[in-house]
Assembly symmetry: C2
Homo-oligomer: 122 residues x 2
């Protein structure tokens, strides 16, 4: 599908929905999607077998738990979790982030659960 060239304002995109843990696609480039998502509370431990995953914080303070340490991200900070690395995002208060990851990425990785949702265009 041909999409027109339109800019995306991250804050405006994030203002258009309220649900937590439901990534919304806001762009695609080659085999990658750009998503925005609101987080609140704990997610589940999971890993992606083949996909590296970039988390960029737009607002709030995000904890990404790794098996050997805690990683805290503030607005304007990102981290890339390599494929195969178990992680659990935790948002004590609401956090708004950008996810950049291969189109094949499932939100819960190899851990299908009631938290698994398909990504959909905003």
């Amino acid at each position: 599908m041909e999409r027109s060239i339109e800019k995306v304002n991250l804050a405006e995109a994030l203002s258009r929905f309220d649900e937590h843990w439901r990534p919304k696609i806001v762009g695609e480039l080659n085999d990658f999607f750009v998503k925005v998502v609101k987080l609140k509370g704990e997610f589940i431990w999971h890993q992606h077998e083949n996909e590296d995953e970039l988390f960029l914080v737009v607002s709030g303070r995000l904890l990404i738990k790794l098996r050997d340490r805690d990683l805290w991200l503030e607005p304007g900070e990102f981290v890339i979790i390599p494929r195969g690395v178990e992680h659990m995002p935790v948002a004590e208060d609401e956090v708004h982030i950008v996810l950049i990851e291969p189109k094949s990425t499932v939100n819960t990785g190899a851990m299908a659960s009631e938290r698994t949702v398909p990504a959909e265009w905003l």
Copy 2:
């Protein structure tokens, strides 16, 4: 090469160099690089044959000229320029951005010139 999992603060990364139009790699995920770059002045008209390119503005105001219109980006806004689409970034005042693009991307696309530079890790 195995890289350790370290977060990147975009403002801090951008404070570590001064040159314009010399993208610095600050992360890799699958076949993509994340780069930061400072822009000032006009670049050249070019297109990428196979790579879509994401421009996210961190600070300043970026003009991306397309053949049929001008696109202005403010901080917190991004646009994806699809492969094959001619574009010319213009920064009247200094602009700091994040670029996300396939590892194969050359900064000047199909237009090799004296503005062509290899991307290097920060």
